[in-house]
Structure formats: C-alpha cells, structure tokens
Amino acid sequence: MTTLNPAASSIAARWREADAPAAPESYLQAARRRFMKHRVGQVAFGVLALLVLSAIFAPILTTYDPIVGTPADRLKGIGSAGHFLGTDEQGRDMLTRLLYGGRLSLIAGIVPVLIATVIGTALGSFSGYVKGWVAALIMRAMDMLYAFPTVLLAIAVSASLGPGLTNVIIAMTVVYIAPLARVAESATRRVVVAEYIEAARLTGAGTPKILLTQVLANIFSPIFVYASGLVGLSIVIAASLSFLGLGVKPPAPEWGFMLNSLRGTIYVNPWVAALPGFFIFLTSISFNMLADAIRDSLDVRG
C-alpha cells in the first residue's frame, strides 16, 4: 500500500523505516527461534543426545564385555574399583550393560512411534479429508483399538507374536496407530473447513495434491507434538514389555529386562538394582520435557 504523504519529513521517513515489518520468518524458523530460548527443552535435548551417542559409541567408551561377566566380580556396589556403577548378578559391568542396553531400549521405544506416525497420519488425514464409508470404517476400527488399554493391547499382541525385538516393535506400532490416526483425523477435520482448502479445490487440484501441499503442513504440528510426547511413554512401555519377558531374548542387555533380572538382588545390592530403571526414567522424562518444549515452540495449545 503506497502512502503518499506530502509531509515526508525526516521523522516520518525514519519512523516508516523502523515500522517496516520484520524480515519474513516462516513458521518453522519462528519455532526454531522460540526453541533456542527454551532452556528446559535444550537441557532435555542435551541429555538425550548424550544417551544416544553413548549407546552408539558404547564399544569405544567401555572395554568390558556386555554379555560375558566375571563370576568373581558378582554384585559389586556403586563406586567399586574398576566398576564405576557396580556389577550385576553375573559379574558383568553395569555401566557397560547400561550403555549397550540403551541401544535396544531406544530402538524399541522410538521406532514404533516413527512407523505408527507415518501410518496413522496417512489413515487419519485420509479419513478426515475424504469422509465417506471407507473413512468411517477406518476410524471406527481406530476407536475400538483406542478403547483398549495400551499396555494390555501391547502385551496381548506381543505375547501372541512371541518374544523378540521385531515382534515388540510390531506390537507397539499396532498399538500406537490408533491414537495417532485419531489425532491426525481431528487435526485434518479442523483444517479442511478452512477457506484456503476450498481455494485449493477451486484450482482443480486433486485430492492427493491438496492433502500433500495444503493439509499436511497444517496438521504437522499437532501430530508432531503428540508423537514426540508418545516417545516418552513408549520408552516406558517397551521397557515394561521386556520387564515382563516379552521383549528381547536374554542375555542381550536391555534396560527393562535388566531391571527384571536384578529384582532378586534388591536386598543385597539395592541401588545397583535400581539403576536400569533410572535410565528408563531419565530417557522418558527427557523425551517428555523435549515434547513440551517442542509444543511451546510450535505454539500448539495442549
């Protein structure tokens, strides 16, 4: 809008310059800027980065074997010489097993959420946009799955599939699809009533094109926020499954399973026995705090 003001005094000119809108900043740039100011989120991110890196580089960080122990070194306490975090009931170094254990625990916690996010978003955004009986059928099935308690469903599915990492991942993916599809569907429903969707339809663009170019970017935030919050819970659920013996096969190290096998030693060496749980807790709370920080940065109410 050109404002042709006869009195283009220097004050006016200076003010206009200062009043010119700030440099264009996209939504994601704004979110990144807000995250950069979020201290809790950054601490959580740092802790997680440390956990992930130490799981990846475990062989460099420790010289002990995670599977074969020294029976003579059984049940050493925290701070023992050579075993900073003590040893377990088979004389294996706890620090080593905790570092290696992070690999399976993190994979089992994160991978199902990732897969379920992709499938759930596809199902949910399709159902929310297209409507009709196919969509209704999908969403009713999702409602039924959702109605079932998460942990019980995960136990039921993974018990029927048998133990093993892959089966645990499959079971948990199945469990997470329903809530993610519901979030995606309700976000899509909110987006499709917007006038810019009608504007896109007026151009003659087909459904897939509209879903990809107009809908997806706008349902991204609530889905991302929900999924990142789910990871924290997923870490705990994955650990619960292996705690119950449904996860990885021994003797591979995994936090939930370690907690289970150390249960018998709580009267002998209590604080070592509690260590794997602390790692599960640390990972989970970091993910939850990161999720809250992401939600604040993306400015999604929740």
């Binding site: 809008m1 050109t2 404002t3 042709l4 003001n5 006869p6 009195a7 005094s9 004050i11 006016a12 003010w15 206009r16 200062a18 009043d19």
Partner: protein
C-alpha cells in the same frame, strides 16, 4: 406491551445519590498497558471523559482502537498483568482504586456489561434460569422462588416471547437475537446506573440489530441508565448515541454530539471514516484511508494518525496534539483545528 418496571428495592448495593449536575461517570487519564515481548502495548491511552446520568455515549473505533479494552478497564476485568493508571469515578467512588472484592460487588449491580458475541457469552452448560437466578441472588437477598419470578420479569422486560419456556432453555436452543436479549437481561438484573455495551449488535443480522437497538432505546428511556455503547459502525453510533467519542490507537481523537461528529467533523480520521463508509444509494467511489491502523506496541511519534493522514505536516510527527476544545460539546485532537 405492558411491562412492569422492576423496583430497585431488591438491590442490596445501592449507589449513593448523585448531586445535581454532577456527572455519573468521570474518567480521567485512564491508561491500560499490557506487557508483550516487544515492550508495553498501550491499549488505552490517557482517556478522559464525563458521562451524565441517562445519557448514551457512543464510542466509535476500529479493531485495535482500544474501545473494548477501555470498557474492560472500567469494569476491572483486565488480567492482573495489565498496568492500569488513571481514575474511573462512578458515583463519587474510584473503581480503579477499589479492592477486587468491592469491585466484584459493584459489577452487575451499579454497572454491568453486554458483550459482542451472544453465541459465546453465555455458559453453555447452565440453563437461562440458572444463569439469571445466580446473578439475581448475588446482588439481592431474594429467595430462590422470588429470584425465579424476577428472572421471568427480566425476560419479559427484554421482550422475549413465551418467557416461561425460554427460562428452562439452554443457550444453544436459542437464536442469536434471543441470546443477546438474555445477555441484556443479565445486565439489567439490579437496574444498573451504567450499562457498558461492547458491540452488542455487531454479530447480529441487520433486521435483528434494528430490533435490539430499539430495545436499547426503550430500556434507556424506562430505566434511566447511562450507556456506553461501543461500536465500529458510525451509522449505529449515530442512531443510538447522544454523544460520540472517536477512538484511534487507544486515544480519543474527537468527541462531540452526533451532529458535531457527523456534520462539523473536525479530525481527519473521523472525516476519513465518514468518507470511507458506503452510504445507502451511493454511486461515487468511497474515499479510502490509506494504510492500516498502527501497532499499539510501536506507536509513531506524535499523532498516531499521522502515517495515514493526507494532510499531515511536520509538526504532526513531532509531538502529540492536545485535545482542542472547539465548542462546549465538541473537541478534537488535531493540530489543524482552531480553538473555537
């Protein structure tokens, strides 16, 4: 329609009698600021005016002009983070200096408010009766049964057809116009001396608006209350008000009687609004005001309207013009108007 005008006897909180000639409401230097990331946002900026009993002041302004913020400040509805300065003297008592508890007792009794959107102003999970009765009982010591009778009376007063049926209804069962009447009834519970109306007809259709405006006129006549009627529509303000205050960027830029504002317009912004408004039967181009209202957190130096003003001069940018008195009813905040 014969309507029983309710007596004030049920009200516990009676305002003290006013000395003759004394204005009912005196607002002096009222300023409201909100903290934002980019500094203080001044929503209401040094607003002063008087309002006599039984008069209607139309406050005209566009979105972001501070007109709603001013009403909320008068009523003490601003969040605790807001910084408020100045005086709001109603019946000799300063509402700004009052304790929150005192203010809460006065809200809904001496002074009450009607909101813009009747669709969201009523609590959706309480019936009309529940919402009326709790308000009546808050401001009187009526028994529950008497309060229900009074609620019926109020619904009749605001001309709701078959009030006994509407009393049991939930807000979603009523049309927009009907809901706005319920909101008005809620405001009339204890015969306020001052009624604040925040764009009460903006969300309504024209034909419904005409009837609600009629109702306002009728109620004002009968109950003798003073009204501050906020609107963005110059024609509505001209229809309902005795006087009009034009707000821009948080400040009153022009104030006067309806003929003062409509016929002897003094401020370039008011003139701009008059010319931008498409009138019935108009065939010539409306004259647009260039640009958009300023950001309240980053006001220009001097006159806030200078950036959009076609007759702005250097001095407009240098300092804020005073509110110049033109006649005893008319004043304007512009360097170009001469003292009359």
């Amino acid at each position: 329609m014969a309507v029983h005008v309710p007596q004030r006897s049920t009200t516990t909180n009676v305002p003290p009698a006013l000395a003759p000639g004394e204005p009912l409401l005196k607002v002096r230097g009222l300023t409201t600021r909100f903290p934002t990331k980019s500094g203080w946002l001044t929503a209401v900026n040094q607003v002063s005016f008087d309002l006599a009993p039984g008069r209607v002041l139309g406050v005209l302004g566009e979105s972001g002009s501070g007109k709603s913020a001013m009403l909320r400040t008068i009523l003490g509805l601003q969040p605790p983070t807001a910084q408020i300065e100045g005086e709001v003297i109603l019946n000799g008592r300063d509402l700004v200096a009052m304790s929150p508890a005192e203010r809460s007792a006065i809200r809904g009794s001496w002074v009450s408010m009607v909101f813009q959107d009747p669709m969201t102003a009523l609590d959706p999970v309480f019936s009309v009766e529940q919402q009326l009765v709790e308000t009546i009982r808050r401001h009187s010591d009526l028994s529950k049964k008497d309060a229900v009778d009074r609620a019926m009376e109020l619904l009749t007063l605001v001309q709701i057809p078959s009030p006994e049926r509407r009393l049991k209804a939930y807000p979603f069962e009523l049309s927009g116009g009907m809901r706005q009447r319920v909101v008005i009834a809620l405001a009339l519970v204890s015969n306020p001396t001052l009624l604040l109306a925040d764009e009460p007809t903006t969300a309504l259709d024209v034909t419904v608006q005409a009837r609600v405006l009629d109702l306002f006129r009728d109620l004002k006549e009968r109950l003798g209350m003073a009204v501050i009627f906020v609107t963005h529509d110059l024609a509505v303000a001209a229809e309902i008000a005795d006087e009009i205050a034009v707000m821009y960027a948080g400040r009153i830029v022009e104030q006067g009687t309806v003929p003062d504002i409509v016929r002897s317009t003094a401020h370039p912004y008011t003139r701009g609004l008059l010319e931008a408004n498409v009138r019935p039967g108009q065939l010539t181009r409306p004259e647009a005001i260039p640009g958009a209202p300023p950001n309240l957190a980053k006001l220009p130096p001097g006159c806030s309207f200078a950036p959009r003003c076609s007759v702005a001069e250097d001095r407009c940018w240098e300092s804020l013009p005073d509110l110049v008195t033109l006649t005893n009813t008319h004043s304007a905040r512009c360097v170009r108007v001469a003292r009359g």
